[in-house]
Subunit: 303 residues, 2 copies
C-alpha cells in the first residue's frame, strides 16, 4: 500500500489522459478522494459509472474546493476560462497541473488567475492513442513514456517533486524543460506530423470517386499510419494548432522548403539528391531506435 | 505436398521482397529449382548461404536460361537494363513478372525487350518493412496483404492464373488493375506518404543542435512513425519517385494546396475550418478500419 500523495485530487475534464491518470491514482491508492468536473452531465456520469472517480459534476469551482491537486485535462483552448472559474476557489497550498500539449501559452492563460500560495506545475505526459473520451483510458497508457514538466524558475520544489512522483507512479520518466523550448520541440515531433496527416487524408478525400475508393481499399503502410494519426481528437488538435501557432508555422515553413527541394529533384530527375537525402533520413531513424533502446533498457518494466 | 507450379524460377535481384517470395516457394515446394542473379557476388553468396536458392551468381542472362518464371526484384530504375540483358535468353512460353511499386513505366521499359511467346505479367505485392536485403526477408511478409497484377489486355490467361496462384500461396489477395490507375492510387497511398516522411525527417535534421537532440529523445507518436517510414531503402525509393514522377508530382501539388489551406487557417486563427477538416479525416479513418476488418474477416488466416 502506497501512502497517498494527495488528500483530494480534482480533475477538470476527464478524457483519454485524465481518465487514464485517474485509473492510476485509484489503482495505487495515491489519493484519499478523486473528483471530477466535466463539460457535460453525460461525461460526468460515465466517469462515475467507470468507478474511476468518487464524485463527478459539471461545476469546476465546486470540484476544486478543498483539493490539494487540481489536474486540468480539458482541450487547451478551454484553459483560460477554466482557470478564471476555479481561481477564487483554490485552497492555499494547492498544486495546479495540466496535461496540455502546448505549454507557454497555457501557462500564460492560467498564471494570472491563480491566487498567492497556489503552485503551478505545468505538465505534458507524451502518451496517447487515436481514441478519445473517458472510456478510452487505461492505467498502462503512460508506461515507458516521457513526461515533461515546465515549472517556472522559483516554483516550490515540493510541489514539483509531488507531481513528479505522480507521473513516475504511472510509469513515466519525468524531465523538466523550459516551456518555450518544449513548444518548439513538440511542434516538430508531434504537431507538424499531425497537421501533415490531416492534410494528406484530406487530399485523398478530394480524389475522384473511383480513385478514392481504391485509396481506402489498397491503403498501404504509409497511408494507413497517416490515417491513424489523423483519427485523433479534432477539438484537441484544433486548440493545439491555434495555441502553438508561432512554433507550428515556423516549423511548417521549414518543412515546406524541404518538400520543395525534394519536389524540384523529382521534377528534374535528380536521383542523386534524392538518394543522399533518403540516406540521411535512415541515419536519423537509427538514432531514434538506439535512443529508444537505451531508454527501455534503463526501465525496470521495459516492454 | 503441393504440385510445383514451375520447373525453374529465376530471381533477378533478391532483396526483402524477392527473398521472402523465394522462402515461400521453398516452403511450399512450388518450383523444381530456384536460382538468382544479383548485382554483387556478396549478395549472391548471402542468398545461397540462407538456403533460399539452389544456385546464385551475377549473370542475369545465365540465370534465366531454361526458367519458366522470371521474377524481377531489382530497384525499378534497373529494369530496362535487366530486360535488355535477359531478353534474348528467355525461353518460349516463359513468364516474366516483377514486384515493382510503379507499373506503367516499368512495363514500357520491359515490353520491347521480350521476344515473341514470352508472357509479361507485371505485379506489385503491397507488403514490406523498413528493412532491406535478403537477410531481412521472411515467408509471412505477404500474408493478408493485397497483390495487384497489371497485365495488358490480351495477356495469356494461363500465365496470369499461374502468377495469381503463386501470390495466393504467399497468403495474398490478388486483384488485376490497369497499370496507369495503379500508379495513381499508389502515388497517394504509398509514394506521397514516403516523400513526406523523408522531408520531415530532413527538417528535423536541419534544426539547431540542442533542439535536434531533443527531437530524437522525445520522439512522440507521430514523428516516430515518420522516422520508421523514412528508414526505407534509399535506392528503391529514389527509383520510385523518378519513375512515377508524373503521378507523384500531381498528387504532391494537390497535397500542397491542402496543406496551404490548413496553414492559412492556423495563421488567421480559424478554428472552425480546422475542426471541420479534422472531423472529416476521422471519418476516412473509420472507412479504412472497416474495410480492413472486412478484408481480415474474409481471410482464413486473418490476424
Amino acid at each position: 500500500m502506497t501512502t497517498p500523495l494527495f488528500n483530494r485530487v480534482a480533475f477538470i475534464g476527464i478524457g483519454l489522459i485524465g481518465s487514464s491518470l485517474a485509473r492510476v491514482i485509484k489503482r495505487d491508492g495515491l489519493a484519499g478522494a478523486v473528483v471530477c468536473a466535466t463539460r457535460t452531465e453525460k461525461t460526468a456520469k460515465t466517469a462515475l459509472d467507470l468507478g474511476i472517480v468518487d464524485a463527478a459534476g459539471t461545476d469546476a469551482a465546486a470540484a476544486v474546493a478543498g483539493a490539494d491537486l487540481v489536474v486540468l485535462c480539458a482541450p487547451v483552448g478551454a484553459t483560460a476560462a477554466i482557470a478564471a472559474a476555479i481561481g477564487p476557489h483554490l485552497k492555499t497550498g494547492a498544486i495546479v497541473t495540466d496535461v496540455g500539449s502546448v505549454k507557454e501559452p497555457v501557462i500564460a492563460a492560467i498564471a494570472s488567475h491563480l491566487p498567492e500560495g497556489v503552485h503551478l506545475v505545468p505538465g505534458h505526459p507524451i502518451a496517447g492513442t487515436e481514441h478519445s473520451g473517458p472510456e478510452a483510458g487505461f492505467a498502462e497508457l503512460f508506461r515507458n513514456h516521457w513526461c515533461i514538466l515546465t515549472p517556472e524558475p522559483g516554483t516550490d520544489t515540493d510541489a514539483v517533486a509531488k507531481v513528479t512522483r505522480l507521473w513516475q507512479a504511472a510509469g513515466m520518466t519525468v524531465e523538466c524543460m523550459d516551456a518555450h523550448h518544449h513548444d518548439r520541440v513538440l511542434a516538430i515531433t508531434s504537431h507538424l506530423p499531425h497537421l501533415i496527416a490531416f492534410a494528406i487524408v484530406g487530399t485523398a478525400t478530394g480524389m475522384e470517386d473511383d480513385t478514392k475508393r481504391e485509396v481506402i481499399k489498397f491503403c498501404a503502410g504509409g497511408f494507413r499510419d497517416f490515417t491513424r494519426i489523423a483519427a485523433s481528437d479534432p477539438v484537441m488538435w484544433r486548440d493545439i494548432f491555434i495555441t502553438n501557432k508561432d512554433a507550428v508555422l515556423d516549423i511548417l515553413g521549414r518543412f515546406n522548403d524541404d518538400l520543395t527541394q525534394l519536389q524540384d529533384a523529382i521534377k528534374s530527375g535528380d536521383g542523386q539528391t534524392l538518394e543522399d537525402w533518403f540516406q540521411s533520413a535512415r541515419e536519423i531513424r537509427r538514432g531514434v531506435v538506439e535512443l529508444r533502446q537505451d531508454f527501455i533498457d534503463k526501465k525496470p518494466n521495459g516492454d
